[in-house]
């Protein structure tokens, strides 16, 4: 019998609001502990929450983007439990009436297969603070800067059947929230994190197996590894006649394994009830419509447009459309260069390579889209060769100026003067008599490949500046003339 994995995901996307969901404190990351926690975040006696309308706008935008039902009357509930980094002793969340109802996303899988994954719901809630265990021996430090940061918890249906599908889903949601500009998507800082619910069963079986929940995984690669590890672990247990305990697990990236979290002695009863300090959120159609109108272009639509408008391949269009900043860069470069395919190759090739090597965000690239476009123009108008263009790009990356400035300063302008090229060609032919003899004595259909040797010599002589097409044409003409004479 064949095993099948069943995977559902809960994604916590931190909304990119300037202030917290129920207070005016800043949400900026990385400040000194407890410097961004106001009276409300500290849960001082008597303080009250006030809902940040920007968080509402962002949540509804997400709902619209995944074609979901929007809860026209949405209610905040209190989830009660004690934890030192949970200052009020409850988390304000939404259980019964989430803001975003049933929706879906379409995943493109290998082999051109499209798979639809259901989104059960997405609800607003506040993040907790952080417990710092290492800095104070024998004590725990509490940092409440993160407390009250708005989160959108996006819950999927258990529709995924492999780690690859799960990662494709997470990437899809990641690209949607970043394209909408409602989440910075920074997984290392915890702005976008994922809990994976995994169970296995025999293929064809209806009933779901017992599932485990692996919490707070913060990279695409770890999601894949954690799920694959968990699937293997569960199959091993079941094949040995064992039983899967429904539990919460942690992924240890160093050991590449999941392990059971210290289980609480008793199950928590969260005693959810509607928060009496907050009014229900009432959303009217006009508000939703207005957001629908103002929705930025999403990756799927953009991909289709790139194929249509720029005649890109399916793969190139997908890579370039997924993220807003990359897509914007590509479009600017393509329009400036006047050659979309060339721009696509350079953005996905040289530019991406440099960004990755230097761990630089595209928005911080020292070579702007306009600058790259300027360089590509010099390729298409034959000012420089493609090979020299890479050298020019290096110089631009190092801050030596625009393509034209670099070409000028380094004297890299392509030689297209036929007299000068002819002189170099004649010089190379004269200096390489043995190779000329070989060419002349070779069968005519073998000669084509032999031109390469002379090409190299001429390009070397021109320091790469000679127009390769002209060189090739002239070499062939002169060598064939010798052979036929």
């Amino acid at each position: 019998m064949e095993w099948e994995a069943v995977i559902g995901l809960e994604i916590h996307a931190q909304l990119a609001t300037k202030s917290k969901i129920f207070s005016g404190a800043s949400t900026a990351f990385g400040a000194e502990p407890n410097t961004q926690a106001c009276a409300v975040d500290l849960a001082l006696p008597g303080t009250l929450p006030v809902f940040n309308a920007e968080a509402l706008r962002m949540a509804v935008m997400f709902g619209v983007a995944i074609d979901a039902e929007i809860g026209h009357r949405s209610v905040f509930d209190r989830k009660n439990y004690f934890y030192p980094d949970l200052p009020k002793g409850y988390q304000t969340s939404q259980l019964f009436h989430p803001i975003v109802g049933i929706g879906h996303v379409d995943l493109e899988l290998e082999g051109g297969i499209t798979k639809r994954v259901g989104v059960t719901r997405a609800h607003l809630e506040e993040d907790a603070g952080k417990s710092l265990h290492d800095e104070f021996p024998g004590m725990t430090g509490i940092d409440l800067n993160r407390a009250g940061t708005p989160l959108l918890e996006i819950v999927s249906e258990p529709d995924m059947r492999s780690a690859e599908e799960a990662v494709a889903y997470v990437k899809k949601i990641h690209s949607i929230v970043t394209n909408l500009g409602i989440c910075d998507g920074n997984m290392a800082e915890g702005s976008f994190r994922c809990d994976c619910n995994v169970s296995v069963r025999y293929k064809g079986e209806e009933k779901l197996g017992n599932r485990t929940e692996t919490k707070n995984i913060n990279s695409f690669r770890f999601i894949e590894k954690a799920i694959n590890g968990e699937i293997a672990r569960q199959i091993d247990i079941l094949e040995d006649g064992g039983y899967i305990t429904q539990e919460t697990r942690l992924y240890d990236a160093n050991k590449d394994e999941t392990r059971s979290m210290r289980s609480k002695e008793e199950a928590n009863d969260y005693r959810y009830f509607p928060c009496p300090d907050l009014l229900p959120i009432v959303i009217d159609e006009a508000y939703v419509d207005q957001l629908k109108q103002s929705l930025p272009e999403l990756p799927d639509a953009r991909k289709a447009r790139f194929i249509e408008e720029f005649k890109l391949s399916d793969y190139d269009a997908m890579v370039l459309s997924t993220y807003r900043d990359l897509a914007g860069y590509f479009e600017t470069a393509a329009n400036s260069a006047g050659d979309a395919k060339l721009a696509a190759n350079w953005v996905m090739g040289e530019l991406s390579k440099h960004l990755n090597q230097n761990d630089t965000a595209i928005t911080d690239s020292p070579v702007s889209a306009e600058m790259l476009g300027g360089l590509l123009q010099r390729i298409t108008d034959n000012t420089i060769t493609g090979k020299l263009a890479k050298q020019v790009f290096e110089a631009m990356w190092a801050g030596e100026g625009s393509a034209d400035e670099v070409i000028e300063a380094k004297g890299l302008k392509q030689v297209t003067d036929s007299g000068a090229i002819e002189a170099m060609v004649d010089g190379v032919i004269a200096a390489n008599q043995p190779q000329v003899d070989q060419y002349v004595n070779a069968e005519p259909d073998k000669r084509g490949k032999m031109v390469g040797f002379f090409m190299g010599k001429v390009m070397q002589a021109s320091q790469g500046k000679a127009n390769p097409g002209q060189v090739q044409g002239m070499l062939k003409k002169k060598l064939d003339a010798l052979a036929n004479s």
């Binding site: 009276a39 006696p45 008597g46 009250l48 929450p49 009496p276 907050l278 009014l279």
Partner: protein, 482 residues
């Protein structure tokens, strides 16, 4: 001087008969001399009071004085007051110096008021006798063997005992009206959402409402002018214009339709209270009002529903008192669980713990529908009772409490008997409408309160009706023997 109302004191300040510093000092001296018998204050804020009084006098010299400038008042110790201990009557917050002001405090500061001190109260406003206070019970100035009522017992005792011209209170199930009745003063619980709850330490968020406790309806109108209004920091506060409540006090009561709910006149009421309330109604008829019997059929469900909803909200509201960030922390906790258990076990008193347990139980998985959800349904029925009744009449009247002040210790061993003292006040918090208590006589030498209930935002009408009654009677002028 101590017999003067706020309105009269305002005039004395205006005419220069005395300065705010003189007035404040007189009250501070009196508090120091007399309050040990009454225990109406948890903290006396002498330094703050005198600096505020000086500033008020300076403002007056500069021609910048408003109606309230320089008037000394006391605040229930539930309102967070910057730089001052705000204990909420609990050991849990005995060491809590608030770093910020409640909106109500801020409003009074802006108006130029002087804070004499913070008044005693039942712990976290949970109680009807002031006996659950960590600082010992406040006593009824009319008979110091008796309770002043609760939870705003300290405020009521301070005003009745001439230890403050007026005070703030809060009312979750009767905590302004019941002590006002028991101490022979005037108190109003405004419409839910009329006064900001920001900085008012929460007991039951959907029921809590701050309001004034004064000698007269006129003073209550002056106080409410300062307290009421929309506050962006409280999502449940209502964005509706606030009238000047003093402007309509003298309107005629001719044609006022009064409803007497038959459920408020059962044989469980002390007969002397019933008689005094009937006399007060007659007085209203003499003033031109008409009276008819009405029914609030779900009144008997109010106490059970309240004792689900209020403890449920309280059990969650009080979770923040965990010994982690501020407030009481037990000595040398061995681990986190020990820290929680002992900090809360030692920091909270019996009544608070009782309600946290009741509330926690009511919200527990499997019980939610049977208790909390059912209580919310009853709440809607009760609200509908009032809405229907107030279509027929302008003001509902009845006794504020079934009995006059009881002896200290008399009901502490029987929580349910204690809860029953709020039978006439509690349903109004569930409905959210405004209610008031004014003195209307005595029963065995102890004050009796007449309750007035109006529709949403009918505070001006209630104050008008109370003021007219006080123009025709002098119950509110009676003072306990010194």
């Amino acid at each position: 001087m101590f017999e003067k109302t706020l309105a009269e004191l305002a005039q004395g300040l205006e005419t220069g008969e005395y300065s705010s510093v003189e007035l404040t000092n007189s009250y501070l001296q009196r508090i120091k001399a007399e309050d040990p018998k009454i225990n109406s204050y948890i903290s006396i804020t002498e330094e703050l009071a005198l600096s505020q009084a000086e500033a008020a006098d300076k403002a007056r010299t500069n021609g910048e004085a408003g109606t309230f400038t320089g008037l000394p008042i006391a605040h229930k110790d539930i309102f967070c007051t910057q730089g001052v201990r705000t204990s909420c009557g609990s050991k849990m917050l005995d060491n809590f110096i608030s770093p910020y002001n409640a909106t109500v405090i801020e409003n009074f500061n802006q108006a130029g008021a002087v804070t004499l001190g913070k008044t005693n109260m039942d712990e976290f406003a949970m109680g009807s006798s002031n006996e659950s206070s960590y600082y010992g019970p406040s006593r009824n100035p009319w008979n110091t063997d008796c309770v002043p009522g609760g939870s705003s017992g300290g405020s009521a005792a301070a005003v009745a005992g001439r230890l403050a011209p007026a005070a703030t209170g809060t009312d979750t199930g009767g905590s302004i009206r019941q002590p006002a009745a028991l101490c022979g003063i005037t108190g109003i619980k405004p419409t839910y959402g009329r006064v900001s709850r920001y900085g008012m330490i929460a007991f039951a968020s959907s029921l809590d409402q701050g309001g004034p406790m004064t000698r007269t309806a006129e003073d209550a109108a002056m106080m409410l002018n300062v307290m009421a209004g929309f506050d962006a920091k409280d999502s449940t506060s209502l964005d509706q214009a606030v009238p000047d409540y003093t402007l309509t006090l003298n309107e005629s009561l001719k044609g006022l339709k009064i409803g007497l709910p038959k459920e408020f006149f059962s044989d469980q009421i002390d007969p002397q209270i019933a008689a005094q309330v009937q006399n007060a109604i007659k007085e209203y008829e003499a003033l031109g009002a008409t009276v008819k019997e009405i029914s609030l059929p779900n009144t008997h469900l109010a106490i059970p529903a309240y004792y689900i909803i209020a403890p449920a909200e309280a059990s969650s509201n009080l979770s923040r008192f965990d010994g982690v960030r501020y407030g009481y922390r037990c000595d040398e906790p061995v681990d986190l669980e020990d820290l929680y258990k002992r900090s809360r076990g030692e920091g909270f008193g019996e009544e608070v713990k009782r309600r946290i347990m009741v509330g926690t139980y009511a919200l527990s998985e499997g019980f939610y529908d049977a208790y909390y959800k059912k209580a919310l349904q009853i709440r809607r029925l009760i609200q509908q009772d009032y809405v229907n009744a107030l279509k027929e009449v302008d003001i509902i009247m009845g006794p504020t409490t079934p009995h006059p002040a009881f002896k200290l210790g008399e009901k502490t061993s029987d929580p349910v008997a204690m809860y029953m003292e709020d039978i006439f006040t509690i349903s109004l918090n569930l409905a959210g409408m405004p209610g008031m208590s004014v003195p209307c006589g005595f029963a065995n030498g102890l004050p009796v309160g007449l309750q007035l209930i109006g529709n949403y935002f009918a505070e001006a009408r209630l104050l008008n009706a109370a003021h007219q009654f006080q123009q025709a009677t002098d119950w509110h002028k009676q003072a306990p023997a010194q």
